[in-house]
């Protein structure tokens, strides 16, 4: 550990310090606004520090962490998403009767875990990051502990994440037992490099790791917790679970399977193909007639991860770019949709029923417009970020001749369109058609939430209409990934 190394992990250090500072601030003076400002300052500091770090990148810090352009890009993405989550959480928590400030300590900790994951090229840092993220998430899910659903979500997430972590550890252990190393790069040279090894240990090891990874990504058949947790967790937390937690894991998935070359193994390819197809089909089917908006979003996220796996399986630089781009688009839209949900929620319940959205256009036209745009992007309608993202996914898949997967992607996207349009139809119902009695008093919208939504909308359209600059950044970042 020397000065350069410390510079390289600056974002991680800043996040850590920010978490401690917020905690100390809470015990000195309990103020929601203060906690939020400190959190935002910490995140902004970490984000700005990325440019400082870029001067020393790429660099291997201890055997555990690699700080390269790829890691920096994903850290930036995670920090930005956390930033938006915090803004959404502020407006949301203002309406709640509970301790509010600790949530930000947890959010910072979780972001730290995710940031560690994207920079790890070693099983130990992988697992450390994962656990830091998970443990914080348990508490975040159950944060509103005077309600039933968040508690249920927290418990379910706790138990199932522990189960899956056990699988993951077992998988790592098997690989270590055979290869004697925990470093991705060394695994690569042994796995592909011609060293003879016992497949009966390595392959189950990989399969068990896929279980652990698949759980975090919420892909079939490890997906079943998703709707319950999304439904139960407070809306901003659900946004966080859907973006930061999954984003960190996607980054790791790419790095782990690409840098170790494991994606080239036939059986790994087969397993992921099954996962991708099953996720696309099951995710979209499950959402079809669902009436709870948060559950719909949960199912749709399952399908979206399935889409990403299609490009992931294509392999290579282009595929990594496509996945990363799609992830960015997915971040923007997911934060946007959950943002709308959290803006509309009140102190008693989250606005997650379809009834809450019936005729929304006539009550809150701009918000309804934003929500429509976000949903259209999720559905992949042109001129939105989602369309460009899907386009790249399909392009990557086609270039690798994965026609079966592409076909599933296209067909299930059509099915997906149905439930997105169902929400949109509900939004634009005229007041006369709305049968359910909507509470006369609308919740006061938080200005901070509106601001975040406005920013996300601009970003959505910008990426959709003019994806060039974002694509350049991603290409630059992904080029540092050492694909084996």
């Amino acid at each position: 550990m020397n000065g350069t190394d410390l510079t390289a992990v600056l974002p991680l250090l800043i996040l850590t310090v920010a978490a401690v500072v917020v905690m100390v601030a809470v015990c000195i003076r309990r103020s929601h606004l203060l906690a939020v400002w400190l959190t935002l300052a910490g995140l902004a500091g970490a984000f700005v520090s990325l440019w400082t770090v870029a001067t020393v990148a790429p660099i291997q810090v201890t055997p555990l962490l690699v700080i390269d352009g790829y890691a920096l890009f994903y850290m930036g993405l995670i920090i930005a998403a956390t930033f938006v989550t915090v803004i959404l959480a502020y407006g949301y928590m203002e309406k709640q009767q509970a301790y509010r400030e600790e949530l930000y300590v947890l959010i910072l900790t979780a972001a730290l875990g995710s940031a560690v994951m994207v920079a790890s090229n070693h099983f130990v840092s992988f697992f450390l990051g994962l656990e830091v993220l998970s443990v914080a998430l348990y508490a975040m899910n159950a944060y509103l502990c005077n309600r039933k659903l968040p508690l249920e979500a927290g418990i379910k997430y706790l138990v199932l994440a522990a189960v899956s972590a056990a699988f993951l550890l077992f998988g790592m252990a098997l690989i270590y037992a055979q290869l004697g190393t925990l470093q991705f790069g060394q695994i690569a040279s042994m796995l592909i490099g011609g060293v003879s090894y016992d497949k009966t240990l390595i392959y189950p090891g990989l399969a068990l790791m896929i279980t652990g990874i698949g759980f975090k990504l919420a892909v079939v058949p490890f997906h079943m917790w998703t709707p319950d947790v999304y439904e139960g967790a407070p809306a901003p937390v659900a946004a966080f679970v859907a973006t930061v937690s999954k984003g960190g894991m996607v980054a790791l998935l790419l790095r782990y399977f690409y840098e170790t070359g494991a994606y080239r193994l036939h059986s790994v390819f087969l397993v992921f193909s099954i996962i991708a197809i099953a996720s696309m089909i099951a995710g979209n089917l499950l959402a079809l007639l669902q009436n709870n908006v948060k559950r719909i979003l949960a199912y749709s996220s399952i399908a979206h991860l399935g889409y990403m796996l299609v490009a992931f399986l294509a392999g290579g630089d282009r595929a990594a770019e496509a996945v990363t781009f799609y992830l960015v688009a997915y971040f923007v839209t997911t934060l946007g949709t959950f943002g709308v949900v959290s803006v509309l929620s009140n102190g008693e319940r989250d606005a997650d029923s379809m009834d809450d959205y019936e005729g929304l256009f006539w009550r809150r036209p701009i918000l309804a417009g934003v929500f429509t745009l976000m949903l259209l992007s999720l559905a992949g309608i042109p001129l939105t970020a989602g369309f460009v993202g899907k386009f790249f996914l399909i392009a990557a898949g086609t270039s690798a001749s994965l026609y079966g997967l592409i076909f599933t992607l296209v067909v299930t996207s059509v099915v997906g369109l149905f439930y997105y349009l169902r929400i949109i139809v509900a939004i634009y119902k005229t007041p006369a058609e709305v049968v359910t009695t909507v509470p006369a008093a609308l919740p006061a919208l938080s200005r901070s939430g509106n601001l975040a939504l406005a920013g996300l909308t601009v970003l959505l359209v910008w990426i959709g209409v003019y994806p060039g600059p974002m694509l350049d950044v991603i290409q630059h970042a992904v080029s540092t990934l050492r694909i084996f």
Binding site: M1, V20, M23, V24, V26, C27, Q97, A98, Y99
Partner: protein, 124 residues
């Protein structure tokens, strides 16, 4: 790989307990008096429920104990190698301890260490 001993073993494992249950069911005697269902057939009839609620404080303190006890393990492991890791190690453990202290201070301030019903501050 020779698979058949494994298969045989598997079925034997299934058969032995199944046989025990079935045999005892067939061979065992059966009776049904009015006290058969109670815990102590020949004792005093039990009163109330066994599910007594303990104060949540016990669990809380127990958890704090586990957490901080575990952290102490790290400090011990540093102490063992204190000379070898040098000042860098010292700084690291210092930061670690500072964070621990901050956490403790937070818990204290939150009222988590108070042993009484009314000391928790109201929200807001």
């Amino acid at each position: 790989m020779v698979l058949w001993p494994f298969v045989v073993f598997f079925f034997v494992v299934l058969l032995v307990p199944a046989g025990m249950i079935v045999l005892s069911h067939v061979l065992g005697q059966r009776h049904s008096e009015h006290a058969t269902g109670s815990p102590y057939e020949a004792g005093i009839v039990s009163e109330g429920s066994a599910e007594v609620r303990f104060s949540i404080k016990f669990y809380l303190i127990a958890m704090f104990f586990v957490v901080f006890d575990l952290e102490a393990v790290f400090i011990v492991s540093w102490a063992v190698a204190a000379r070898e890791v040098g000042w860098a190690g010292y700084l690291e453990i210092l930061f670690f301890t500072i964070i621990l202290v901050a956490t403790l201070a937070y818990l204290w301030r939150l009222g988590a260490l108070d042993w009484g019903p009314k000391t928790r501050r109201k929200t807001r």
